[in-house]
């Protein structure tokens, strides 16, 4: 196994972790599978493409705007639709978020067309060699960004008052609301945060590869795979889960060729989910 393969896997894994973090956050706090997460990711990429295309922004400059934009879109959806469904029946949010993902795909198709798009950046195809290992610049950047965002999420959850409120709502929403926390608002804020993280992942995905309005589903599955590998409720676990997935993909592509990559990845995902549902990494941080 060459060092190139391992390093490429680790760096790509950073991006997967970023995509998985939002899903894991929503599931950990709201106990809800968010089937529109892929569209949140792709929506971030399309929002950034507007700024890159019309205002000539660099994708990294467009990134915070895309994050804010997706957060602003996701907040009311959670506040006024999904939280209510959460109380109605266990499957309702699953179905509703799936419905919303269909709507989002259609809107993206109508507005942007079905042609593949990519976010142009000088570092999109650039690479450099470090200690004899070939590194793609865009993955190095996205890896650094993932570390920063994972660190920020971790610190917000563990060191701030808002983070305590989120953790309290996750642990026991009844008691939390009895103690005066507005759980509905906290849920919506959590979803907005997850959407912002998704958008960041989307922008970096958009720089690294092209995307279409239907690219959301594979990204959603990537996110689920990360969550299954990581287990629920630990930011550090998500990071490790993403990296594991990246290395797994990289190695299986190297060993069996690109065609078998998905088979290996989804089989490992499936078996992990079934036989080790708490993830490969025990929860390190209560969330």
């Amino acid at each position: 196994m060459s060092a190139d393969v391992m390093v490429a896997g680790v760096l790509a894994g950073g991006l997967y972790a970023l995509i998985g973090l939002g899903i894991s956050l929503v599931f950990g706090v709201l106990k809800m599978m968010n089937l529109m997460h892929g569209e949140l990711v792709i929506g971030g990429a399309y929002l950034a493409s507007l700024l890159v295309g019309y205002a000539g922004f660099d994708p990294l400059l467009a990134l915070p705007f895309a994050m804010l934009g997706m957060a602003a879109l996701a907040y009311p959806v959670q506040r006024y639709l999904l939280t209510g469904l959460l109380r109605a029946s266990p499957n309702a949010p699953l179905v509703a978020t799936f419905g919303l993902s269909l709507v989002a795909q259609a809107v993206l198709q109508a507005v942007f067309g079905t042609h593949p798009k990519a976010l142009n950046a000088p570092y999109a195809d650039a690479g450099f060699t470090l200690a004899g290992v070939r590194i793609q610049a865009v993955y190095a950047i996205s890896f650094a960004l993932t570390i920063v965002l994972c660190g920020a999420t971790h610190l917000i959850l563990t060191r701030t008052r808002a983070g305590s409120a989120v953790r309290a709502s996750a642990a026991d929403p009844m008691t939390a609301s009895m103690l005066g926390l507005n759980v509905g608002r906290i849920y919506a804020l959590t979803m907005a945060g997850a959407a912002a993280l998704a958008a960041a992942g989307g922008v970096m995905t958009g720089v690294a590869q092209s995307f279409t309005p239907t690219s959301g589903l594979p990204l959603l599955l990537t996110g689920f795979a990360v969550m299954a590998l990581a287990g629920i409720g630990s930011v550090g676990g998500v990071l490790l889960g993403g990296i594991t997935l990246g290395v797994l993909q990289s190695i299986s592509t190297d060993l069996f060729g690109g065609g078998w990559r998905n088979f290996v990845v989804y089989t490992v995902f499936f078996l992990t989910l079934s036989f080790r549902p708490s993830g490969l990494f025990r929860r390190a941080v209560p969330a």
Partner: protein, 333 residues
């Protein structure tokens, strides 16, 4: 068990009418009817597993592919006739359902849904790389040995009737009552002596076999099997959409759902992909928001209200079997 007999008689007459009408239809209508019947079988199979037994699956495509590929490859690689292909499809999808049950039945709730989704993607990836099964391009079936036209329609009618019969059985039998008991309160059901694992296993395998049979019909209808056609996530999504829109956990809900979703939406909006997606998506959200028990339950409730008013004694009308509130509804109330 008067209701059960009534349902059986109704099903038998509907099947007879379908078989009598079938040969008189023009080829276009016959093809449409075949498609509707295939979807009915798939939606009903999902309904048995998820509506009655409460295990929400996002993996119907796994078994459409298993059945379709078994039925297709049997004809493409051996000299057997199509009935043997269909029989093989049932066997293979049963076997795959039983094998997948071992890991899947360890999962509950949303985890089960995600597990079935992951399994279906793994199956699609496997088929894409399996050269004997034609790889990504798939295999074209020998046209002279596959059923077409009226025969195919009759096969589809048989498969759909089997699915309906099983749904009626599940709805009225002690087996079905135990399944719904597990769905509504697993610890309580287990406490009362219901063999939880065995029942969940049976529902999964039964649903797999039905879906596999429908997959076989689809393979013959397409005259080809390919990973994109047989293992597409769309099968899984349509199964959920149709059963939920019509009414999961009722016998006639999926029938209504198939007609509304396929004939009413997919078919009519064929040329307007974007509109079709938006309508389907919004419909799903509206259904779970305002009619979580589906259109069928709305209709029966409206029917009861009207009848009650006509008889002048509101609330005294007997509950129709299809409209019994599920435990979920009771919890909400």
């Amino acid at each position: 068990m008067k209701q059960k007999t009534g349902a059986a008689v109704a099903l038998l007459s509907a099947t007879t009418v379908a078989l009598l009408l079938g040969p008189r239809l023009d080829p276009g209508t016959q093809d449409l009817a075949t498609t509707l019947l295939v979807y009915l079988a798939i939606a009903q199979a999902w309904n048995i597993l998820s509506g009655f037994a409460g295990q929400v699956s996002l993996g119907a495509a796994t078994f459409v592919a298993a059945g379709g590929y078994a039925a297709g490859l049997a004809l493409a690689h051996t000299p057997v006739d199509w009935p043997a292909g269909v029989a093989l499809a049932v066997l293979v999808s049963c076997a795959i359902g039983a094998a997948l049950a071992v890991p899947l039945l360890r999962l509950r709730g949303d985890y089960f849904a995600i597990g079935t989704l992951a399994a279906s993607i793994a199956v699609q990836a496997l088929l894409t790389n399996w050269n004997w099964a034609g790889g990504a391009a798939g295999v074209t079936l020998p046209i002279d040995r596959i059923p077409t036209g009226t025969v195919l329609f009759e096969l589809a009618a048989f498969v759909a009737a089997t699915a309906m019969a099983l749904a009626v059985y599940v709805r009225y039998s002690a087996f079905g009552l135990r399944l719904t008991a597990i769905r509504d309160n697993e610890p309580a059901a287990a406490g009362l002596g219901v063999a939880v694992y065995r029942h969940r296993f049976a529902a999964l395998v039964l649903s797999s076999a039905l879906t596999g049979m429908a997959g076989a019909v689809t393979a013959y209808q397409y005259v080809a099997v390919s990973p994109g056609g047989m293992a597409s996530v769309n099968w899984s999504l349509n199964a959920v959409l149709m059963a939920l829109v019509g009414g999961a956990g009722s016998v006639l809900g999926p029938v209504l759902g198939v007609v509304v979703v396929y004939y009413g939406l997919t078919r009519q909006l064929e040329d307007f992909q974007v509109v079709s997606l938006v309508v389907e998506g919004v419909l799903l959200v509206l259904i779970v928001k305002f009619a979580p028990a589906g259109i069928w339950s709305l209709l029966t409730r409206a029917g009861r209200a009207i009848r009650g008013r006509l008889l002048g004694a509101p609330g005294s009308a007997p509950a129709t079997p299809e409209a019994e509130p599920t435990a979920r509804e009771i919890e909400v109330v």
